[in-house]
């Protein structure tokens, strides 16, 4: 028989519950938006049949290009610029992806008040720092050079 000592902490349970609900929501949205994309119900920013084609002057198809070359070829904005294209079949899929990628931030924000209430100072600091790190990654401020 398990006892109270083996049970997960309050913050662990809350984290798990949010993760569970958010994961299923994000995954379902991803599948639905992909069906919309494949069915052509919404026009795509990058026509679906173009992806496997090789543009003139290139040795590789579009999906064989480096990400920054692909972005230039189709005039795709970086960072959160994709939200302007969310009405298109292909970029609509990014909504589900962003939800899945954003879940962890939400979970941390949810457990923060519990950690504060417990006066668990080291973990309050760690949680705040983690939210800052993930927010920085999500912000789109970070640019990749070297091209």
């Amino acid at each position: 028989m398990s006892n109270d000592r083996t049970k997960a902490s309050e913050e662990q349970i809350i984290y798990a519950n949010i993760l569970n609900k958010g994961m299923w929501f994000g995954l379902a949205l991803l599948v639905i938006t992909f069906i919309i994309y494949m069915s052509g119900m919404l026009p795509s920013h990058v026509p679906i049949e173009e992806l496997s084609k090789t543009p003139p002057g290139s040795e590789v198809p579009y999906w064989g290009m480096r990400a920054h070359e692909f972005n230039i070829a189709f005039n795709i904005p970086t960072g959160w610029g994709w939200t302007a294209l969310a009405g298109k079949g292909d970029y609509l899929n990014f909504v589900g992806i962003a939800i899945l990628a954003g879940l962890t931030i939400l979970c941390y924000l949810a457990i923060l008040p519990i950690l504060i209430k417990k006066k668990d100072t080291p973990y309050v600091i760690i949680a705040i720092l983690e939210v800052a790190v993930l927010a920085l990654a999500a912000s789109g401020i970070l640019k990749v050079g070297g091209h």
Partner: protein, 324 residues
């Protein structure tokens, strides 16, 4: 007994045959792609690739469960090596595949108190920060350099998988000061022994330092990092094997999130690659869990090691432009 062995052999043989067929199909398409002039790429209908990708990731999902590895570590070298997609998009998809798997497993592991939030949070802060750096380095490097490094990493993983021992209940003589001050400890019900197991960790500063390297590699190559997380948590820091495996799986949901955002923001994510891969791996994992009860884990483990060895060599030789 004989019947059981025959059934097990049938499952393993079917898997091998299926895998060979898939590998053959992919290789035929890949070589057609490589030798044909660019315009002939349109000869292969666009929908063939996502369909083949779905089937391959479905098989990878089965193998990942049976071989005890994450989907990402199989996905990136195999899809990167045999599909016409750029390694940028493959790594972006690899991270999201590993992330989806971790998100799916995380809630159950947390609720059963096998994944420890107290152990995860400090480690995740280090690993996720490093993963951002890794993702930025990876996207800035030339594809052939990425392939060489990826190939070398996969071969190293093969070495770890083939040689590393695991310890169910490592002995921790004395928790270190850092783990004590952070209160990294726990207790869980070990059903196989029918008793509660208390655990703590040691060598925390060295462990955290290693997670800098693990985070960079996870972000750079788009691999889930379970292959590295588990040995560090289990063999170095002394967490019980079950806690290490569960915490590692949950950790990926945080580490891969930070790197995934970098790939997403740099436009290195193609839904046409991501969605069939996530769905394929997840469905494959569900089937894998069912087969797990019948299959011989050791035989599968060596099959996965063989597959990784092949994929690692392919990435290395592709990067060195010996096998284009």
């Amino acid at each position: 007994m004989l019947l059981k062995t025959l059934k097990t052999s049938k499952v393993v043989i079917s898997l091998i045959v299926f895998l060979i067929l898939i590998a053959g199909t992919v290789t035929v398409f890949a070589s057609a792609e490589a030798v044909a002039p660019p315009i002939a790429n349109s000869n292969v209908a666009w929908w063939v690739w996502p369909l083949v990708l779905f089937v391959v990731t479905f098989v990878l999902g089965i193998l990942a469960v049976l071989g005890g590895v994450g989907g990402g570590v199989l996905f990136v070298p195999i899809v990167g090596g045999f599909f016409p997609f750029n390694i940028d998009f493959v790594r972006g998809a690899g991270l999201l595949v590993a992330l989806a798997g971790a998100l799916a497993a995380g809630p159950g592991l947390l609720k059963r108190n096998l994944a420890s939030l107290r152990l995860s949070l400090p480690v995740a802060l280090i690993a996720s920060s490093a993963a951002i750096g890794g993702a930025m380095i990876g996207l800035a490097l030339k594809p052939n350099v990425v392939n060489i490094l990826l190939g070398a990493t996969i071969l190293f993983i093969v070495l770890i998988m083939a040689t590393a021992k695991k310890s169910d209940f490592p002995i921790v003589p004395k928790p270190d000061n850092l783990s004590q001050s952070l209160g990294i400890m726990g207790i869980y019900r070990e059903e196989s022994l029918g008793k509660d197991v208390e655990w703590t960790v040691h060598k925390t500063p060295i462990g955290l330092a290693l997670f800098v390297i693990i985070g960079i590699m996870a972000g750079m190559f788009g691999l889930g990092a379970g292959w590295a997380n588990v040995p560090v948590l289990n063999l170095l820091m002394g967490a019980p094997l079950k806690i290490s495996v569960a915490t590692s799986k949950f950790l990926l949901s945080i580490t891969d999130t930070s790197a995934a955002w970098v790939y997403l923001n740099q436009g290195a994510v193609l839904p046409m690659i991501v969605v069939p891969s996530i769905v394929g791996i997840m469905l494959g994992s569900m089937v894998g869990v069912k087969i797990l009860a019948k299959a011989k884990p050791k035989a599968i483990k060596w099959m996965v090691i063989g597959l990784l060895l092949f994929a690692g060599l392919r990435a290395l030789l592709k990067g060195l432009e010996i096998w284009k």
